[in-house]
Structure formats: C-alpha cells, structure tokens
C-alpha cells in the first residue's frame, strides 16, 4: 500500500497547478512581486518534499 506515494503525486500536481496559475496571472512578462516570489519558494519546497516522499516510498 503506497497511499503516501499517491498522496505525494496529487500534492505535487496541485502545487505545480498553483505555479501554473501564478504564471497565468503574471503573463506575459512574469515579473513576480515579493509576495509571488515567496509563494513560489514555498511551492518549490513543497514539491521537493513530495519528491522526497516518492523516492522513499517507491525506490526504497
């Protein structure tokens, strides 16, 4: 049972979706405000965490 891995996949996709929406909101120049940058940093940290979980769950 790799429920943790499945959750990590969804969480990762949802986090990428948040980044996608930010790209839309800032198109076409994608000049990010301080707040935008903070949110991207948080998103990327979350993505790394989901990748870590996937490595642990699926490649151990």
């Amino acid at each position: 049972m790799t429920k943790k891995a499945v959750d990590a996949v969804f969480k990762g996709l949802f986090t990428l979706t948040d980044i996608r929406v930010l790209l839309r909101r800032t198109a076409p120049l994608h000049e990010l405000s301080g707040e935008d940058r903070s949110s991207v940093q948080k998103n990327l940290a979350d993505l790394r965490e989901q990748i870590r979980i996937l490595e642990e769950e699926l490649l151990r």
Binding site: F10, L13, F14, P28
Partner: protein
C-alpha cells in the same frame, strides 16, 4: 511541447494575455484544475452514486448541495447542471414550445437559441434592436402584440440575453420580463455572459428560466452550464420519465426526460463545483472588472480613428470596436496586410484576437489583473504609435 502524440500543449494562458471574447470567463480557477486532475476519469463522480441514482442526489462528492447552491446563486428555486447553455435552451424549448408555435428571440440572440426553437418546430420571430443596439421593453411589447395578431396566440416563449455576445450591451431584462408577464409569455433569461461573472437574481428580475454557461462565465470546463427555474415550472421542465419497455417492462426511476437522466458525470461538474466558491465571490467584484476594462477602453478611444461600437459607458468587459479608420488603414499598405496587427499583439504577448482582424473585432478583459490591463492598454497605443497613428 506536446501533451502526447500530435497534441500540443495549450499554453496560451500561461504565455500571453488572452482577450478572446468567449474565453475570458471560462478560464479555470486553480481549484478547478486540481479537481480535474483528480476526477478526469469518465464517470468519476459515480463512485458513491446510490438510490435514487441521479446526479443531483449524489452526496459524495456533494453534488446535491451544489445543485441547491446553484439555484440560490441565481435566485431561483431549482437548478440542474447542463452540458452548456445551449442544452438549457433546448430543454426549455422542448418543454414549452410546440410545432408551429411562435417564439420571440432578439436581433442579438445567439444562434443556439434559434436552433433550439427550430429543433421543436417553433417559429422564431425577432425583437428588433434600437439605434444603440439595445433590446427595449417597448420593442418587446410591440413584437408580442404583432406576433399574437399573426399567430392568433401569444409567443410560447421569449428569449432575452441580459448582455449579448455581439456588443456586450445590457438589455432591459427586468422591464421585458414585466411586459412579457402581462401577456402571459414565459421568459428565458440567457445569462451566458452574466451568470458567474456578475450578480444575477432571476427571481428578482421576474424571469421564468435562468440559463448560464459554465465554460463561458463560471470558470468551468466545456461543456457545462446551468438551467434554473421556479418551483412551479420545475415540475414540468424537470419532469421524470414515465417510459416503460413493452417487452421487458423496465422503468427508469427518477431520471429526468429533458436531461436524458444525468448530464455532467465527471470532470465538467467537478471543475464547475470546485470553482464555485471563487465564482460566488468574484461576482461581487464586478465593479473592479469594469474599472479594469475601462483602462483598455480609454486607451483604444485615444487612438485616432478607433470607435467603440458597444454602449458607452461600458457595463460589460466584452466590447466590440471598429478600427477601420485606424489599424485597418495601416493594413492597407503594410507588407503583412491585416496580419500586422495581430502579429504585433502576439509579439507583445497578447492573444485572442482573430488573426488578420483589423476592421471590427471584439475583446474581453474579464479576469485580467489591473497590471495586465495597463499592459494591454499600452500595447494598443504603442502599436498605434509605431505605425504612425496619432494617439491623443
């Protein structure tokens, strides 16, 4: 980049400001995108479908509550989700229009309302627009009387767009509904360009049916929409099947005839439902959307020879402009001809205008940020200046 095979990724919204008039209100929220990721499989909302086996009774995910929310959202008693506004038109026409019955539409009605009438053998008659491209209650009353004289009975139904798709002009819905009611004519409110982007109260307006488009104005995937009505009409419009197989004796429970049972059984309703909380909030910020739109309108009007064909002041973010005496003049001698304009827009990261259009065209600023509208406004005036058109 490709999704797979020959299917290219659609990255227009990520790379550009898209001002396509029909796409603005249907852009998905992050919540809808996430729901679609999870519910993309065919009948994905049916995992927990239990008796009486109908979409609007499903509790997990909470589609039953969503249906009630939708009805309240548009000020009506009952609502169903539909595969697009056009299927809402069709359901109402199927129920209330008989072969040879006259039906009133307007000079600005969408073609799908004509087709819905045609499909049941109804006879379309139009209410003319006035000199400002507005459908007035006086014109509606006159046409009801003319049609009644012509057919010996009043129209079976009257379609009215709150805002039309051609100009984005506001029409006299409340007054028309009042007039129609005095002739005992049922009114279908076409909210394809309103439900989901500005507040709509069908009950307050006095209409019999409210039709909305999910993919046009409710941040939802296509095809999606809603059909809402009063408690009284719901009995007829959402009637359940009486059919029975003559050999098998099978009956089909509470399936609704006009909906052919269930309508949106997966990603479409989940996208619609996931977006709904934001949609319900965003309609309260319609004034901000209009203010953003005005930034672009004023920029276009500052370009010599450019005329806004839609009503001024603008009451909607969809606008029709005439640039025959500005950008089209440039096109006459430009090496790229009409494509110079959309090419220049594209280079500035702006999409959604029909390639080659330099004469009469439409755009919609709905959902853009103030910053994006300022950028868009500057892009129009910059392209004008770069091509020798005076900007005042």
């Amino acid at each position: 980049m490709r999704c797979t095979g020959d299917i290219e990724v659609r990255d227009l919204e990520e790379l550009a400001i898209n001002i396509d008039p029909i796409q603005a209100g249907g852009r998905l929220t992050a919540e809808a995108m996430k729901a679609i990721i999870a519910y993309g499989d065919g009948y994905s909302v049916c995992d927990n479908c239990r008796k009486p086996f109908r979409l609007d009774h499903i509790k997990k995910p909470p589609l039953d509550a969503f249906h009630r929310d939708l009805a309240r959202f548009v000020g009506m008693d009952e609502a169903r989700v539909m595969p697009g506004a056009r299927r809402g038109f069709q359901a109402v026409a199927d129920t209330y229009v008989g072969k040879g019955d006259p039906v009133l539409l307007t000079a600005l009605s969408h073609y799908t309302s004509f087709l819905a009438v045609e499909g049941v053998g109804g006879i379309p008659r139009e209410i003319p627009k006035d000199g400002q491209n507005i459908i007035t209650a006086d014109a509606a009353s006159s046409r009801i009387e003319e049609v009644t004289r012509e057919f010996g009975r009043p129209p079976a139904l009257l379609f009215i767009d709150h805002f039309d798709y051609q100009f984005g002009n506001e029409h006299q819905v409340r007054e028309i509904a009042r007039a129609a009611s005095s002739y005992d004519v049922k009114v279908l409110y076409n909210g394809a360009y309103t439900v989901g982007i500005l507040p709509v109260d069908g009950g307050g307006l006095g209409v019999d049916f409210v039709v909305g488009s999910g993919h046009k104005s409710m941040a939802s995937p296509a095809p999606s929409g809603l059909l809402a009505t009063t408690r009284e009409h719901a009995q007829e419009l959402f009637r359940t099947t009486q059919a029975k197989g003559d050999i098998t004796g099978r009956a089909f429970g509470v399936k609704e005839v006009e909906l052919l049972g269930c309508t949106l059984m997966g990603a479409t309703i989940m996208g619609m439902m996931a977006s709904f909380p934001r949609v319900a909030e965003r309609v309260k910020r319609w004034d901000e959307e209009l203010a953003n739109g005005r930034i672009v309108i004023e920029a276009l009007r500052s370009i010599e020879g450019t005329t806004v064909l839609s009503e001024i002041p603008r009451r909607h973010t969809l606008t029709r402009v005439d640039t025959r005496n500005s950008f089209d003049r440039v096109a006459e001698t430009h090496k790229k001809r009409g494509y110079f304009f959309t090419g220049a827009l594209s280079e500035k990261g702006i999409g959604g205008v029909i390639p080659g259009a330099t004469r009469v065209w439409k755009f919609n600023t709905y959902g853009l940020t103030t910053r994006q509208c300022e950028y868009l406004a500057s892009a129009f005036t910059d392209i004008a200046r770069e091509n020798g058109i005076p900007v005042t």
